[in-house]
């Protein structure tokens, strides 16, 4: 086999590998569709984050607008602070928006449900580094059962 033919075959091989990579990137990993653009950061304080994890999604009505970037404990009052990175294309949320930790399905993973608030003239939009004031913690099943038993006991 001549060198030229070998070179053509190797070129074909590499092109096939590039095609496979592109397919994995675009079709399988969903790269480029959303999520790797520019983002801005919001913070939210919760009493209890339940099973929320880093990289959990932030959704508005089911549409993913960002991801949980980090979870740490506040130094002073020891409550969890969740860092959210939200895509820049969704930058128009008013300051009255609220976030709550929800579960997808009965046994599914936990995500952050973002509820856009009302916007009146003197209410500004959330910008990079803002804290979201209105938060609802995760439902912890053990706490619910405890409350239920307690209320039954006091009847």
């Amino acid at each position: 086999m001549t060198t030229r033919k070998i070179e053509i075959m190797v070129g074909f091989f590499v092109a096939l590998a590039i095609a496979a990579t592109l397919m994995l990137a675009l079709k399988v990993a969903g790269q480029g569709a959303s999520g790797n653009g520019e983002t801005y950061t919001l913070y939210a304080k919760f009493d209890n984050i339940g099973g929320l994890k880093v990289r959990s999604s932030v959704k508005v009505g089911g549409v993913t607008i960002g991801r949980v970037e980090g979870i740490k404990l506040d130094d002073e009052d020891f409550t969890p602070v969740v860092t959210l990175s939200i895509s820049k294309s969704y930058a128009q949320f008013p300051e009255t928006s609220s976030v709550s930790i929800l579960t997808s399905g009965l046994l599914g993973e936990q995500y952050i449900g973002f509820q856009p608030g009302f916007a009146i003239d003197d209410i500004e939009n959330l910008s990079d580094g803002d804290f979201i004031e209105d938060t609802k913690s995760a439902l912890v099943l053990e706490d619910l059962i405890g409350q239920f038993l307690f209320s039954r006991g006091s009847e």
Binding site: F12, V14, A17, A20, L24, A25, V28, G30
Partner: protein, 258 residues
């Protein structure tokens, strides 16, 4: 006493083999690069180890993807979760089966051929004649094969995973009737480029290095007789497979463990 002597001799034997293997590797890799001379040689070897492995990689990738879709569907459908077929097939291919099965096939298809080729070159004293002509066989024979293996295997693993996912689509969507939209969209929301795809590529680069190194060293170090070459070829396949499976556990623990 005899037992201790045997243990000591065995250990020293293994250690000196490892030392020789390191010298082969360093002699092949560490040197002044001469691209004009070595790139054509490497391309020739990519053809031998990469392009000629393409058919077995594509066929096994297709069938492994199809079988996983078939098996996964029968279990997932009980829970009404057949939409998760896409991420199941894609994640197991990208994280584990792609790199590992490619490395095992590569060790069997290309690694054994490398060992036999270099071993036979040694047995027929082609390596010594090269040295007599002041051509370093490590640079001329070993280095292009090493680079070709390291370049080819990650590409083969990517092709394997992509073909496997298409095979899963073939069985899951076209035959068993999983919704095509959910097959792709749940896969897209689950699979992460850095976490899953790139870690799989890193795995297959490590496997490529280990498999090619073992194959080349076993050939270069073979006893230059027919029995020696047959033993070296067997050892290449066995050692490569064991190394790949062991390293896969370590790498998985490091990448996805916590």
């Amino acid at each position: 006493m005899e037992w201790f002597a045997r243990l000591g001799a065995g250990t020293l034997d293994k250690l000196s083999a490892f030392g020789r293997a390191t010298f082969v590797l360093l002699g092949a890799v560490v040197a002044k690069p001469r691209p004009l001379k070595h790139i054509p040689l490497t391309i020739k070897q990519i053809y031998v180890v990469g392009v000629q492995s393409l058919s077995i990689i594509i066929v096994s990738g297709l069938f492994i993807g199809m079988v996983m879709a078939l098996q996964g569907y029968t279990i997932l459908v009980d829970y009404g979760a057949e939409g998760s077929l896409g991420p199941m097939v894609a994640l197991s291919l990208l994280r584990e089966l792609g790199p590992v099965v490619t490395a095992l096939l590569f060790a069997g298809r290309a690694g054994s051929a490398l060992t036999a080729e270099i071993g036979l070159m040694k047995a027929t004293e082609q390596l010594s004649s090269l040295e007599m002509m002041a051509v370093d066989p490590l640079r001329r024979i070993v280095a292009p094969r090493l680079w070709a293996g390291m370049i080819s295997m990650p590409l083969l693993a990517l092709i394997f995973s992509a073909v496997g996912i298409l095979g899963g689509h073939l069985v899951g969507v076209d035959w068993l009737g999983v919704d095509a939209g959910s097959y792709w969209s749940i896969m897209q929301s689950t699979v992460e480029w850095n976490e899953d795809v790139l870690n799989g590529v890193i795995k297959s680069i490590v496997f490529a290095f280990v498999c090619t190194w073992i194959a080349i060293f076993k050939g270069y170090d073979a006893v230059p007789t027919s029995e020696g070459i047959s033993l070296a070829t067997t050892q290449t396949v066995v050692y490569s497979s064991l190394a790949v499976l062991g390293l896969d556990f370590v790498l998985t623990a490091l990448m996805f463990g916590i």
